[in-house]
Symmetry: C2
Subunit: 299 residues, 2 copies
């Protein structure tokens, strides 16, 4: 059986149980980041690695600065999802020996600019020759206060679901220059009890069912309220992926205050209530078109 037939989610589900657990793992495989207790540290250690591949996550002809920006911002968006604070990054670059030095310099300009935006220090870089497609992997380490770390599985029955920004059409350009919602996530956890949160990387149609499943709940969406990007259809807003917006669940009691304070704090960024968490039996899951599935689509 090939990976295309299995799909990424089932692949990881197959591999995860074989990994050894230990008492210091708060979260391992299966949430946006790994979250770990350390013996000599009061806050939790947060780790995330992610890669962009030429021809898959960026066009071969993309400007190297933009490739570097995206490669750094993708794992930082996972930090936003947990309300984590990124601190240090390591870069692994697999690239052809025939590649131009100027391209790699451009890549590092993009990586550095993105890291600087969130005061992340690039503290290591490894470069390997490859005869295949360029791969830029970025590993980020950081921290989070235990009482501000938000997982996918904390959603409660009746919670309202919100998304930041607008959805759909990211691949037309935004995916190479987005800014992860770290500032917004940190503000949310400083002001509210957020029950569950994740970042939208594979599309609402794939990611929302993940959050609901992790919380052992179903969900209902009002498709007419979805914050659809200009020029996109509702279907694209659900399925395109690469939005890098936050999806979170919060008690209905907090909604009015959330909307009011948000407008004051982030007047230029939309915050939209898109639905709620309900019982599994009522869920729209089966009728929801899915987002981007790794290995399943040939692009």
């Amino acid at each position: 059986m090939t990976l295309r037939q299995v799909g990424e989610e089932k692949l990881l589900a197959q591999l995860a149980p074989r990994l050894r657990q230990n008492a210091r793992i708060i979260r391992g495989v299966g949430d946006d980041c790994a979250v770990l207790k350390t013996a000599t540290r009061s806050d939790w250690l947060v780790l995330k690695t992610d890669a962009v591949v030429a021809g898959v996550h960026f066009p071969e002809a993309a400007e190297p600065q933009k490739v570097g920006w995206k490669a750094m911002m993708r794992p930082l968006s996972d930090f936003a999802a947990m309300s984590g604070l990124p601190e240090f990054a390591l870069i692994t670059l697999a690239i052809s020996p025939a590649a131009k030095l100027a391209w790699v310099r451009g890549l590092y300009r993009g990586l550095s600019a993105a890291a600087a935006r969130f005061a992340v220090a690039i503290v290591g870089g490894e470069t390997s020759a490859t005869r295949g497609a360029t791969v830029v992997a970025v590993s980020v380490s950081g921290r989070v206060e235990p009482n501000r770390c938000i997982f996918r599985d904390g959603g409660k029955l009746g919670d309202e679901l919100f998304v930041t920004g607008s959805l759909g059409g990211s691949r037309a350009g935004r995916h190479l220059k987005f800014v992860p919602r770290i500032r917004e996530a940190r503000w949310l956890t400083s002001q509210f009890k957020i029950h569950a949160m994740m970042d939208l990387s594979d599309g609402l149609g794939t990611d929302l069912p993940r959050l609901a499943r992790a919380s052992k709940l179903g969900f209902a969406i009002d498709q007419n309220t979805l914050p659809v990007s200009k020029g996109s259809s509702i279907r694209e807003a659900i399925s395109d992926g690469e939005d890098y917006e936050l999806l979170f669940a919060i008690s209905p009691r907090d909604c009015a205050r959330l909307k009011k304070l948000w407008r004051r704090k982030f007047p230029r960024l939309r915050l939209t209530r898109i639905g709620r968490l309900n019982n599994k039996a009522q869920s729209a899951d089966r009728h929801f078109p899915s987002g981007y599935a790794h290995f399943r689509q040939r692009r």
Copy 2:
């Protein structure tokens, strides 16, 4: 100009000064691992990422378990070089959607077995499609006591140079099943004041000049004392690379005690004095054949 013309070392030297520094970086780009101070932790945070690429670091036909073993053990060998203790690992896999599920399971068996050997927990896995060569990147986070962290640049004039094990011929098979010298490094720093240390990944001919340069010293080698692997020539012992043995510098005052205690502690592992650190003017650097240079060799 292409990367092949520049070479990895000069490439990193070009990129490093552009990276922002900050007060918490004990070591960034340029040593075996990054070493960092954290606000809420008494010991230092150690980070390392490394990748193996099909057709470069392993033959396409290699058993997946062995590929996984090597992918994990390479960054752990860098932990040994600092006398660090690895704790957590994240895996990034870029692989063709047409790859077999059985191959990925074999890879993870190898990764898990290698991690378990040093009580490292695999806490995250990301998988990306690629149309090119398979890339397995492993990022490891861990810790080290500030008084036991050994850098490359601490060598002192007159220090004796030692290597563990034997050198050369690793690519005939050992490179897929070696065991990093973490136990040995931890013992060394518990018993002795080690001045400088690194792991031999690119060959003594490349790595020793790096250690000497970092320490602003030269070196003298007695080629006849080199611990050459069975079936290898002296030249191969110097140039093959992928030995994953320790090279370290220690005061001549400690040599007799080191040899005696080592024989008792590690009776089955050679420890060989191969030369000493001297003034730059006397150095053998210019006449030393070099080891494996990334991007320079076409294999």
